[in-house]
Every structure is written in C-alpha cells, then in structure tokens.
Symmetry: D3
Subunit: 341 residues, 6 copies
Amino acid sequence: MKKYNVGIIGYGWVAGAHIAAINATSNAQVTAVYSSRELDAAKVSAQHGSSITVYNDLKKMLANPDIHVVSVCSYPYDHSKQVIAAAKAGKHLIIEKPLALNLKDLRAMQEAVKLAKVKTCVCFECRWSSQFLSIKATIDRGLLGKVHYGEVDYYHGIGPWYGQFRWNTKKNAGGSSLLSAGCHALDALLLCMDGEVDTVTSYATVSKNKVFAEYEYPTTSVTILKFKDGRIGKCASVIDCLQPYYFHTHLVGSEGSLLDNKFHSTTLGGLNKNKWSELSMKMLDSGDVSDHPYQTQFQAFFDALEQGKEMPLTSLTEAAKSHEVIFAADRSANEGKPVKL
Amino acid sequence: MKKYNVGIIGYGWVAGAHIAAINATSNAQVTAVYSSRELDAAKVSAQHGSSITVYNDLKKMLANPDIHVVSVCSYPYDHSKQVIAAAKAGKHLIIEKPLALNLKDLRAMQEAVKLAKVKTCVCFECRWSSQFLSIKATIDRGLLGKVHYGEVDYYHGIGPWYGQFRWNTKKNAGGSSLLSAGCHALDALLLCMDGEVDTVTSYATVSKNKVFAEYEYPTTSVTILKFKDGRIGKCASVIDCLQPYYFHTHLVGSEGSLLDNKFHSTTLGGLNKNKWSELSMKMLDSGDVSDHPYQTQFQAFFDALEQGKEMPLTSLTEAAKSHEVIFAADRSANEGKPVKL
Amino acid sequence: MKKYNVGIIGYGWVAGAHIAAINATSNAQVTAVYSSRELDAAKVSAQHGSSITVYNDLKKMLANPDIHVVSVCSYPYDHSKQVIAAAKAGKHLIIEKPLALNLKDLRAMQEAVKLAKVKTCVCFECRWSSQFLSIKATIDRGLLGKVHYGEVDYYHGIGPWYGQFRWNTKKNAGGSSLLSAGCHALDALLLCMDGEVDTVTSYATVSKNKVFAEYEYPTTSVTILKFKDGRIGKCASVIDCLQPYYFHTHLVGSEGSLLDNKFHSTTLGGLNKNKWSELSMKMLDSGDVSDHPYQTQFQAFFDALEQGKEMPLTSLTEAAKSHEVIFAADRSANEGKPVKL
Amino acid sequence: MKKYNVGIIGYGWVAGAHIAAINATSNAQVTAVYSSRELDAAKVSAQHGSSITVYNDLKKMLANPDIHVVSVCSYPYDHSKQVIAAAKAGKHLIIEKPLALNLKDLRAMQEAVKLAKVKTCVCFECRWSSQFLSIKATIDRGLLGKVHYGEVDYYHGIGPWYGQFRWNTKKNAGGSSLLSAGCHALDALLLCMDGEVDTVTSYATVSKNKVFAEYEYPTTSVTILKFKDGRIGKCASVIDCLQPYYFHTHLVGSEGSLLDNKFHSTTLGGLNKNKWSELSMKMLDSGDVSDHPYQTQFQAFFDALEQGKEMPLTSLTEAAKSHEVIFAADRSANEGKPVKL
Amino acid sequence: MKKYNVGIIGYGWVAGAHIAAINATSNAQVTAVYSSRELDAAKVSAQHGSSITVYNDLKKMLANPDIHVVSVCSYPYDHSKQVIAAAKAGKHLIIEKPLALNLKDLRAMQEAVKLAKVKTCVCFECRWSSQFLSIKATIDRGLLGKVHYGEVDYYHGIGPWYGQFRWNTKKNAGGSSLLSAGCHALDALLLCMDGEVDTVTSYATVSKNKVFAEYEYPTTSVTILKFKDGRIGKCASVIDCLQPYYFHTHLVGSEGSLLDNKFHSTTLGGLNKNKWSELSMKMLDSGDVSDHPYQTQFQAFFDALEQGKEMPLTSLTEAAKSHEVIFAADRSANEGKPVKL
Amino acid sequence: MKKYNVGIIGYGWVAGAHIAAINATSNAQVTAVYSSRELDAAKVSAQHGSSITVYNDLKKMLANPDIHVVSVCSYPYDHSKQVIAAAKAGKHLIIEKPLALNLKDLRAMQEAVKLAKVKTCVCFECRWSSQFLSIKATIDRGLLGKVHYGEVDYYHGIGPWYGQFRWNTKKNAGGSSLLSAGCHALDALLLCMDGEVDTVTSYATVSKNKVFAEYEYPTTSVTILKFKDGRIGKCASVIDCLQPYYFHTHLVGSEGSLLDNKFHSTTLGGLNKNKWSELSMKMLDSGDVSDHPYQTQFQAFFDALEQGKEMPLTSLTEAAKSHEVIFAADRSANEGKPVKL
C-alpha cells in the first residue's frame, strides 16, 4: 500500500479523472468514494482496478481515520460546506475549481482550513501543464524581461455536445463564463504576471446562436486588470464560440514577448525580430494526450504532504486570490463599473 | 493630364508615400507641394518623376484654382487649421491619421468640411487592405453569423530604429499609443463590429525597457468597448513591445470565428471544428509588398469624386466616429473610469 | 429497443461495417443476419454486442414481420434478385454499391422498389463525408459561382494486399474499374456538377506491373462527360497505381475554383489569387478516422424513414443515375465510341 | 562577336523575351529586328544593349547574308508564310508556338524546311524547364516503370489583366484554348508518354463569368488520348478559371506515380507508400524566376547548330506531332466525335 | 504448425520483442524459453498467446531436437558461451547485439558457428528498416554516385528513465557507448560505405550532468574511419544527450548527397541544387510504429533458412566486421592513438 | 568625413564586399585601393560612390599618413609580407582569412603586430552572424549547460561554377579544404566549445566526380579534436559535395542540445523532449540577405578602435588560435597520425 488513502466526494466525470490521476502517483491511492446516489462498491472497485469502499453518508466517510485526504469533486454549490466538514475532520484537501460561487463561502472555507491546519490542493492544474511550466520558466530565466502587459484567454464552445453543459448552464451551478471555465485562463494570467491586482473592469455579452440560449448568464466576457504596480492584463472568457478550442496567451515584456508557443527575446543574441522563435510545448489546446497536468499536480501535492509543506503554485491561498479577482470581475460586469479589490 | 490635380501639405516620409500612390491612380496626379522648409522644385519634380510646383506659403497654394484636392501630411497638431483653410478654399481633402489630437479640433474640421461641401478621404487605409476587404466580405457573406465579440490589436515596437520615433514620442505630436498607431486596429474593430459604441474603459501602462523611456505618454493600452446593442469588443495598442509586428484579429460570431487569416464556419457543411480553415490574404503584418492599400483607397476616393459622391469606408464621417472612441478611451485611461460616448 | 430492426444479407467485411454503423444510429439496430454459410448465432451476437438471429434461408428472414429494413451486403451479382425479393416482402432497403452489373438488373430493381413503395438508401456514402458535405455547401453558398468544369478521380492501388482483391478481379464480380471502385468518384462528380449527362466517352488501359495481371478487365479508365447544358466533366478511375491513395477533386466555376481541400473565390473580397485558401475538411484519402460517413448516412436514412420521406442525396433514384452514367462509360470504353444517355 | 547572328520577326512582348535569352547564350546574338511598325534603331539597340538593325521590309532582312537564324515572334496567322520565306532564304529557324492555326499551313512549313535543309527550334520551352527535365530523367531512370496513364493540364485564367488577352480572344489569332495556351501541357504530356497517338476525343465549354465573354471560342476543353500501344492520357486546358496558375501533372506507371513535384517509387527500397516523396524542382507554376527555359532551349539549339545536328526535344519534327494532336482534338470538340490521327 | 521452432535464451524486455516478431513471421514460432529465473509456463504461454515450454537448465533446452533455432537475448557477457553451446547443439542462431564484449569471444563464436555449419542472424535490424532499405536502394540505383564521405550518428539520451539504464551503465555489460547503443549507427555506416576499413581513431568524453554519473565508461565518443580505398567516414555515439532521439545520416557522393530523409542528385535532370528533395521513409528516430525491422529481419532469416542459404545483410560474418571496427574504435579511445584493423 | 580612412590591398571580389561594408559603418570609409594591376581611379570611385585614390605601389599607400587602417584582401600567399609591412607603417589591420598558409608566416605576422601595437580584425565574420551571435548567447545564458561534444561542419560544393574555384584549387593558394573554406566551421566550433585544444586527428579524401579533379589537395576532410579538459569536438570540411550549402552545427551539453536552429533545454520547464524547439535565426546557409556579418564585424572593429581596445571575438589573437588548430589538422591528415598542439 502507498502512504496516503484518499476519499472522493461526488462521483461524476471529474471524479473518474481524479481517481486515475491519484492512483498513478507514487504515494497515494483512492480507497473510498462518497456519492448522494447509491453506488455498487464491487462495480466501482472493478472500474478503477482497486478496492474502494462506497459511502452514502458523508459524515461516515469523514469519520474514517484511515482516510487521510479527501478530494472534493461535487457540484460547486456543495464545495463550501463539504470542505469545511472535511477540514474539521482533519482531512487534507483536493478541491475542484471553482472553489465557491461567492466570496463569503470562500472566506468560510479559508477560515476552516486555517483552523484545522490541513494542507490543500486546488485544481488549477493548468499551472502544472507542460505549457505553463515552460512559460513560467521562460519568464523566470529572464528571457522576456519584466512583463508589463499580459493576455490569457479561454475560447471553448461549450454547447449540448459537451457533458458539462447539462448543469453548467445554470446560474447557481456554473456561476459565470469566467467562473465555470475561463477561470483557468485568468488563473494562468495571474501566474504569469505575478503581482497584486488593484482594480478590474469587465464587460459581458451573449452569442445570437440559439444553441447557447439555455445559459442563464452571459457566456462571453472580457476583463481588464490593473495591478498595484501599474502593470495591466486582460482575460477573455468565451464559451459560446464555434471554433477550435484556443487557450490564447500573449505576454509583453521589457526584453521580449511570448505568444502561445512562440517567443522573441533580445537576450538571445541576434535572433530575427521579424519571425517568432518556437518552444515545443505540449499545448493545453492541442489535445496532446501525453501531458497529464492532474497527475503532475497531485504528485506535487502528495510530495509536499510528505514533507509537511504547503504545495507550490496551487494551494488554497494562491487559488483564493484568483477567485477574488473572478468575483470582482463578475461584479464589475453586473454593475457596469470598475471594482477595486 | 489626368483629371485631378493634388497639392500636398507637409513633405516628410508619409508625403512621399502619398505622392507615389496618388500618381499611380488612373485619375489624379500631384502637381504641388507645400512645406515650411524651402524646397527645390527641380529636385522634388525629379524625385517623383513629374512636374511639381513648390510652395512655402500655404495660402498661395490654396489660392491656386488648378489644384482640386489637397492631401494633409503634416504633423497632427497642424491638421485642424490646415484642413479648415483648405475646405474654405474649396479643396477636396485627403487627411492623414490622426485627424486631430482632441475632440474640439475634430468638430471644427467637421463643421468646415460640411459648410464647404467638399469630399474627404481619411487615411485609415487598412480598411482597403486585402486583409480587411476579405474579412469584411467574409462577415458580409454570413460565414461568421452575427459577431458578438471582437478583438483587433496592434503590436509594433516603435523605438529609435523607426523614423516616426523622433516626434511620435511627444505628447503633443503622438498623443497616445492608441491615437498615434493603434488607431488602425481600433478603426478596423469598428469596421468589423459595425455598430454604435456606448461605453469604453481603458487601462494604460509602460515597458520597463529604457529604449522606450523617451515617450511622454503610456505606450501600452488596452481598451474594452460596449456597443449600444450589448455586443462587446477589445483593442490593445502596444508600441513598446520587442517582437514581430502583429496585427491581431479575433472575431467571434454566432456561426463561426475568424482568427487572423484563419476561420471556422458552421455554414460550410462538415468543416472540421477542431482545425482552422485558412484564407490566403495578404496580411498587414506580413510585409507582403504586393498589397498597396494607399493606392486602392485613393483610387476609390477619386472614383467617388468623379461620381460626386462620398467615398465608402473612409470618409471623414466614418473616421470621426473612430476618433471619438479613441478620445474616449484615452480619457478613460487618464481618469480611471469608464467613459460614455 | 430502438424503432427499426434491420436484417443483413451477406456476412463479409462490409457487413461488419454496416452492423457497427447501424447500431450506432439513434433509431435502429441489427437483429438478423442471412448468410449462405452456416453461422453460429451466439458468436455473431457476441461479436456485435447484441442479440442477432441467424438465417440460412433468405425467404425466412424476409418473412419475419419484425424486420423493417434489410441491408444488402452480398456480392454485386446477387443484389438484383435479393433487392427485388426484399422489396416484395415490404422491407425498406440499404443497398451496397454497385447496385447491379448491368442496366437491365438496375431497371428491374427500380421497378420492384417503386411498386412496393419502400424507401431506399444506396451506399454512395462519400456524399455524406465531411469532405463532400463541405464541398457541396461551398458550392451552394455561391463561393465558386456556376461550376462549368469538374474533375473527380479515384487513385487507389488495389492489389493482393487488399481484401477486396480476391473477388474484385473477376469480370462478373468487380465489373470494371469504374464500377467496382471509381464509382464513388463519378458519383461525387455528379453531386458537384448537379445536372443531366448527355454523352460520355471513355478510354481504358492496364498497368504493365504483373501484380495486377489477374484482373479480367482494364484497371485504369478515364471518362469525359458532356452535360445537357453544355458543361463538361471528367473522371479517372485508377486501381492499378502504386502511390498514396488519392481522391482528386478539381472544380472550376465562374467565381472561383476548388482543388481538394483548397479553394479560391472572388466573392470573398481581396483574397490572394496566387495562393489557395484552405478548408480544413476530413479528407476521404487522409485516413482520418474521426469521420464516419456510413453512420451519418444511415442516421439520415432512418430519420427520413421516421418522417415517411425519401432520404436526401443517396436514394435509389439518385444512385441509379450515377450507375447509368457508369454503364454508359464502360460501354464507350468497350465499343470505342461516345455513348449518349 | 559570337558565332550566330539572329534576326527577329515581330516586335511584341515575346520578342523581348527572345532577344534577352538569345543574347544570354554563349554563341548567338540578335543583330536585326523586322516589324510592320516603323521602329527607331537607336532606341531598340539601347533597350537591348547591343547594336540592332531595324527592318520594315521582311524581304530585305531575309536577303542579308550576315543573318544566320531568324526567330519568328509574330501573330500565329503570319507564321506560315514567314517561316516559308525564311527557309527559302536559307535561315535556320526559331518559331514561337503555335506553329500554325491549321494542318495545311503546318504541312507547308514542314515541306519548306525540309527542302531548305535548315534547322529548327520550336518554342515548346517547357520541355527545357527544370520541372520537365527532372520528370523526364525520373522516367528515364526507371523510377516510375512504364507509364500507362498520364495527365498534364493547364489551368491559367487569361482575362483582361493579362497582356495576351487583347488578341488571344480572337478565333483567327488564338485558335482555341488548347492551341493558344494549353499546347504546353499537351506537348509535355506527349514528352512524358513518349509514343504515337491513335485517337483523341475532346469536349469543350465556357465559363459563365462575363469577364471571359469576349472569347470567340470555348475557353475550357478536356481531351483524352489513346496511344497506338493501348496506353491512355488526358489533357485539360482551362483559360477561364479564377485560381492560382496550375500546371498539373499526374503520371501513373508500373513502378510508381508522379504527381507534380511528388512521387512514389517501388524501386527505392522501403519508401512509405502512404506518403509522397518530393523532388525539389523549380515548378513552371511557382513563379520561380531562377529557371529560364527559353535560354536553356536556345543554348541547346545553337549548340546543335554548331554540330550540324537537329536539336533534341523541340525540333519542328517533334513539335509538329504535338500540333497534329491539338488540331485533331479541336476538330473532335467541334464535330462531337473521336478523331483518328 | 509453422516450420521452425525457436527457443529463446534470456527472458527480459528484448525477449518479448523477439517472441512477438518471430511469431509474426510466416514460418516460425517460439516454443521454448530458457531463463535463469524460475518462470511459470502457463503465464508465459498466456502472455504470448501460444504454447511455450519453460527451461531453467539451458542444456536441456539445447538437447531438445524439436527446437531448430535459438535466439540469444541474454546479457552481452553471456552471449559467447551460450552461442557456442547452441552451435554445438546444431541450432541455428539469432543473436542480439552486441555479439560480444571483446574480440576473443567474438572469434570463438565465429569458430563454433563455422564448425557447426549453422546459419546466423545478428540483430543489426536497422539494416532492415524502411529507412536503410531505402537509403541502400538509393545508393544502389546510382542516385548518389560513389559515396566518398559518410556520417551515421546515434544521439539518444539513455538515463534512468530508460529500462536498459539499470545494467547498461556497467562496463562489463554495456561495454562502451559505441558497443551498447551506437553500434547500430556504425553498422549502418558500414552498410552505406560498403568497403574494408583500414584504420580508425576515436575520442571519448562524458557529460557534466549528474544524471549520467553512474556510467562506468565514457558516454560520448566520436570515431573517424579510413577505408582501404581511401574513402573516409565518421560515427558519433552519444548516449548522454538531452534532446530528441536522432539517428543522423549524411552521405556525400560523386553525384549527390543524402541527409537523413533528404537528398540531391545530379542524375535526376534539373533538380534544384539549393533545396533538398525528400524521400518519405519511416525514420528510425521518428517513432513511426508502422515499421517493424525485427519482423522483416526475422522473416528474411527464416526464408533464407528454407533455402539453405546465409541470410543477406545481417549474418554473423557481416556483423562480426562491424564489431571488429567497434572494438578497434574503443581501443583507440582508450589508448589515445589510431588503431589499424 | 567619418573618422577612419581605410586603404584596401588587393582588388578582387572580396575587396568589393569589404568596401561596401566599411562604407556602411558609422565611423570609417575607404579612401585608397592598392592593386598590382593598373586601375582607373575615376572608375573605381564611381563604382563605390566615393573618392578613392588608386595605388600601384604598396609602399606609397602605406606611406600615406591619412590612411589609418588597411584591409588585406589579396591572395593568401601575400598576406604575411603585406601585413608585416602595414604593421610596420603603423596601420591598423583588417585581414581576410586564411591569415597565412603556414605557422611560420603566422608567427611572423603576430610578432610584427605585437611590436607595432596596432589593432587587428580577422575575417572570421561568421562569429558576428545572427546565427552564431544567437548560438553563443544561448550557451552563455546556460540553456545548454556545459557543452561536452560539438560538431560544426562546412558542406559547400566549390566547382567551376564558383568564382573562387579559379585559384582556390591550387595547393599554394587554397592550401587545404579546411584552410580555404572549412576554416569558418572550425573557427565557429572553437567559439562554441571555448577552450584549449590538446590534440587533433584528421582524415582526408576526394570525390570521384571529374568536376573536382583540378584540386591539388584533398577536398574532403574530417577532423576530431580533444580539448585539454577532456571535452571533444569534430569538424568536417567538404568542398566537393553536390547538395545544398549546409553549415551544420550540433552541440551537446549537460542541460540540452542545439542542432542548427533547433534546441532542447531542460532549463525551460516542461519543454517537450521529443520535439525540437526552434530559434528563428538568419542562417549562414539560408541565403538570407538581411544579415550582414561583414558590416557588423567591421563596425565592432572601428568601435573598439575608437575606445583604444582590441575588438572582441575576431582579433588576431583569437584567429591565430583557430589557424593553429587548422595547421595541426592538415598536418595530421598528411602524416596519418594525431598531432598535439
């Protein structure tokens, strides 16, 4: 047996992905699943190739001392109370995004985690993708100088052909274009810009195509950000487009720029300024199956657990900051004015 | 002799481009040049391969009845009074962008032109480029459906290596990043979105690279626009980047999207939604020398003149709208709040 | 249970493809298979994952009132009598190409179908491929204007390495290069040109490579077509080549051309005439497995059945026209003179 | 002075190309020009950078014993009588294509040349292009085996934007689509297939676009050829298309195929049959200016002259064969039946 | 049952590959496996889908008269004595590379094989890859003329992520960079150059990266070769690089060159000398899974067995020559001076 | 007038290139030319667009105090005595490669320059190319770690079609393949490896193609180098190939590799190790005319002169080291044994 036993909360599509990724780490395995539906333990075990206990009562699962970590894969509106209960039970936490649908719930979760002194891993797994590990390293090695303008955008048409559509269209489940999907882009932008946001302004709109009519909230938004040190950024979240999935990144710095997998840098001698150089990364929007950010992220989380440390890049503290900006952006779009953080 | 004689006001780099393009049309030629410097008529004529009279006094040139059109190629801060004088003298007008550095001057120009009933052509020549003629036709044939979100951006590092840098860095000559260079992108965005702007919000910042330190105004800005019908748009203007020149266009519509020279459309049967189709356009940022938007634009202007009509796409009326949005954006960046048009 | 039960006639390679595609539709499933060989019902059911009754006597299968549709997957020389029997039994029909090996058989089939008032679906499934759905939409949206010259060709070396080779080489089974394989190209040409054929002329020849010596008919033919309205077309069918599989399409119209997945159109503004634009289609010759024309076609057939209508694009009426042209072309090649339809 | 003096007949665009190419050879120069227009000898000499005598009377030029070769660059309807006169005067001959507009004129020319025992070079210069020298060598080295089916086609929209359009549209000047332009493709097909043509059938039509309405003959034709040894070929000539210029070549042989600049050959070990190999040739349709077939051809002609031999590939004998096929094809299109050669 | 029964010696990763490839031939199957570990016959049989007898005593397996061939897949230091034993037992031999770790062992093996008159197949399977079959055919058809300089190199970072690393790092198992891995490149070089080597000089070094510190021998070497007829070659073997796997080939001949999958040849008419032509081969370093040199090689071996002949390209005689050069190169690197063969 | 006057020694092709590049710098111009042929000062001045004095007596030119720098563009065998004379005359020196044809001459030049305390610039201008400035910066920023194996090679067929061929084929002018042409590659290798060479071994051979028969020395050589710190390198110099010009570079380091314009680096986060990243450099072998290493180099030389310093990268000291290695390599090839430096 590996060191950490994990219990899953919620048993939908994302839970399946978590179980596979957790079992693929070197130091953890899934041993329990809680679902509000009645599950067949034998079937669940067979499907994932290991022995899994099934719970229909969350309290019971949390009361089991052999479970060290829980992974919260339920609907967003259930996250807050489940996270708090798990923290109180002393479980370390993996939490799917979005953390919560409003700032109040988020603060309550942070409070509970702080009190319980448990460790956390939030599923902003794009930070652990080949693409953003490379982009971050490129920035950190100084190839772009100081980045003063950045764009990271999310273009992905989420219509009836996409599983998530069923519940994601509801205001009280999806929340907003940015919260339900574009959050990955905004979180990646904050990773790349690395600083405190001062103010955001956001505008939102909808496609005229009937296929997206079921959405209870605007499906396209564009947000601009001003950082406290004067630098600026922008994030578009478009889930009502009809086009190839596109995770657009453009960073402009004092020594060069990066556009998706291309870059120019004045720090590398005589590079041709009129033609981009190219980094061979596994792109988030390329469908390259050989990059598994979930697994990389969970491995990092369990490794940090072993060392008794907060994990880098995607702890609750980091992720909460991104959520605050998202909440502010959505408020700006609703109220039609800039919002200060 | 061709039908229209043109006098040029100002004799810098842009004047040379105007003269060549005007002389290449089928119905006009340059016969006069006014400059505040003393010019040698023989030299000027030789350089452009035709007989050109040289004026050191603008009034005299405007008083010449053989001149039917003037082309204003002077510094932006001189445009207003020169345009007004030329209009009063009954000359039709070609005017370089930006039209003016503030709304008051712009209104005065519009008034004078209206009174004099002269025709106008403003140098937003990108509307006449192969790229935007194709993009416009693509929208007009319905391949994208109704566009509800659009981005057109301008990325072009304008440093000491670029002629314009000498005067463009001054607040009272360049005006702003958007006004001095990004205006082409914003104007193209308005062409593609085709509607009335309601509100804009803009944030601005600067590069940390010393090479751009001479600029008296922020060299990077990002502006978001809300149209009266609820659709939204965005325009970044970045003249302090170090990268290949990039005129970025991304339009999201109800039946497809267009990204630079790529597109997807649900109206063309079974196109692969996971891979862009591609239009072979001569891109503004490709340095393709076989596309001459100046000449195409001037030809359209002189053809409209022959028919006694306002030219399409780039008359003063159209161009003034783009300037109003730019002025509003720059005000928003300065004042830190949204500006309503 | 879904609405329509289908019985398969003949149990070779193509039957397997039909069963998978039929079972993948939303409203039909295969419940019976007839074969002249003795089959093991349990094995057949297991292989296709559903309960299938096995018949060794066609009459018995046709007598079963629970079977609504039969799919004819037998050798071409058996099609005619089986189709007639099935029609008489009131079964709707899916028929593999070629429909028949001569005009007389074809007419008898048409007669029987007409009398029985059953609906039909002929396996010219290329019309339902991503490639030709896109090409047809491109024509229908007017991007090419009126097409006055068209080529669609079939280059595919069918030697001993290819399953079909075993029986396809026989005159009384394969029929001709055009009938056994190139028919898809000729049918697609007629789809694109959309008109009545007046005359055809065809020349035929053979490769000198011994690997193709077993063929009892010429393995390469080229056919030219004149339409009643004066437009012309051409179709090469080459099954004795040694090269990558190539489904060549070139359409020349009054507003542009289409070459495979490339096109030029004067209707899209300033497109560069010297470089092709490109449609990202899943090409028939690319081996792209994510395009399943069989399934798309059968779905359309069953949907039409539900509405009591003839299916579009590939009903017997349409397909018979393509066969008439093929028979005429083969006669022309044999007799050495043009053949009028 | 180099060895051969050349007199040019006719002084249009093609004459200019001949003069440059002849002067660039190592053993000939242009010393005389005949034109029905009055020319200024000084101007002509200056333009071509050498001393050229100007004639307004063809007889006088032909009477000059210092002229060894004449190059016939006049309108096609003048070729026959001028070639006969020049042959009678003992001049060797360069003759632009088409040689003549009918078989009678062609035979008369052949007769005269034979009698006069002069040497000839006909401007089917594509045979001397990098592309067809490479294709021929590829065939000759056996990489394709025996070619049993070949296509060479000519797609080039010749409208008002093209110089030749002015006179080419006339029946008595252009002749036919094949004769005026597509002849290069048909001649190249004969080069590649290398055999005696037995019969041809041709169909012809026209574009619906008004821009081509001035043509007095069908602007699109497709011709199929049967060779005496049973092999077959096809040539489309399309001068009313709107697309990139395309000189399409597809050769199918017993050991491989060649498609434009791509090929597959079973003679080169384990080449991947599913992907074309690629020959880097300067393509006729690529606009690659570093390939000069005129000069290569004329050099070969003068080199053959020095050795007292007929030139290879493009002597009158070879070229006459191609013309016979063209005349037969045009007759087939007119009469609506196959024509035997 | 197919004709030849094969017994495998050693049961590691490479044995699995041999078993699959042998079973895929048309005339042989694996019926026995010897391992120093105790194996479970049922498990082994199940894994490979056929009945396999398991031996823990090599003598017993060699004594079985139903085994016709043995395949030696053990550690390199065991090859010699096992090969000799098997030869004495009258078994034909498949032998993994390297044959031996020193010249003495190699000579002993050759002696034993010669005496026993058994046939041999050495796993220099790259000679049977699509890539080198094509390169060899290209040379043999004269497209390169006479090759006077050749390079074939092996760049493949073999670190802890690679299975072989576990034992390959030991001096007495891996031997040297060239012997353990680069031997494929050197063997391919000898295939292409085709001649007797006179002298070699080799230099060797190591990476500074700690990940390779476990190696007991220099991990990078470069060897130059002089052939008896004066021609020269070079082979780098680099197993401590961090880069894409690269099997670099550059051959320079009197009529052209070949670089990886690119070539230029003066024998193919007017090919563009400034741009490489390209052969579409399945490259050894491309990870193209549709090329199986093991299977091709073993098929050739068993076919030769049926005909009572030595197999072409990779018999012991050929392979021994390559080993002699490798031993000489390693000696040169150790002793710091040229070594004569 | 700019600050430095330059006199040119020798007036062939390379002198023309020097004059243009020197005149394009910001602080120098060519004012004198010495040639052993009688030159026409007016013609020379006209050709280069400035006033140039012509000398037929070298002493006189060197005696002119207004000349500050001389550029030695004569035949290699004249370099030594001319450089010594110029140094004695107190002139700073630009010297074309090769510096000398033997070590004795080289030492004499070094001595004279040292005594005269003049500054030097040797035409190893590849060090100043976009390509090697970028490669050097890539190494210097640590992207490759420590380079332990490097190859830089020169493949360029120098036959009768190439100007230099006329004299380069002579032993006493060209010297060797490495000295006359490959020296650029060897010099670039030393730049990249940056260390002291301990020993070299070189093998040499010739093409069988008659076109290269005139060469008095072996036209292909391959040299391997061992550095004092144990690292190794290799340089092939091939001037008898028939292929595209290729300046091949492959550097293997402890953190990555560089291959021509491609690289992989472990220092940039999650880059895909199986696919090269790409630097957009202007390659020496691409014929990209927008990179002018001569001018960049001369500018750096004159800038260093202004500051009273030795120029970086290509002073006589640096260049002499490269020559010593070349002389040693050529000696090794001649004597058939390693040569220690």
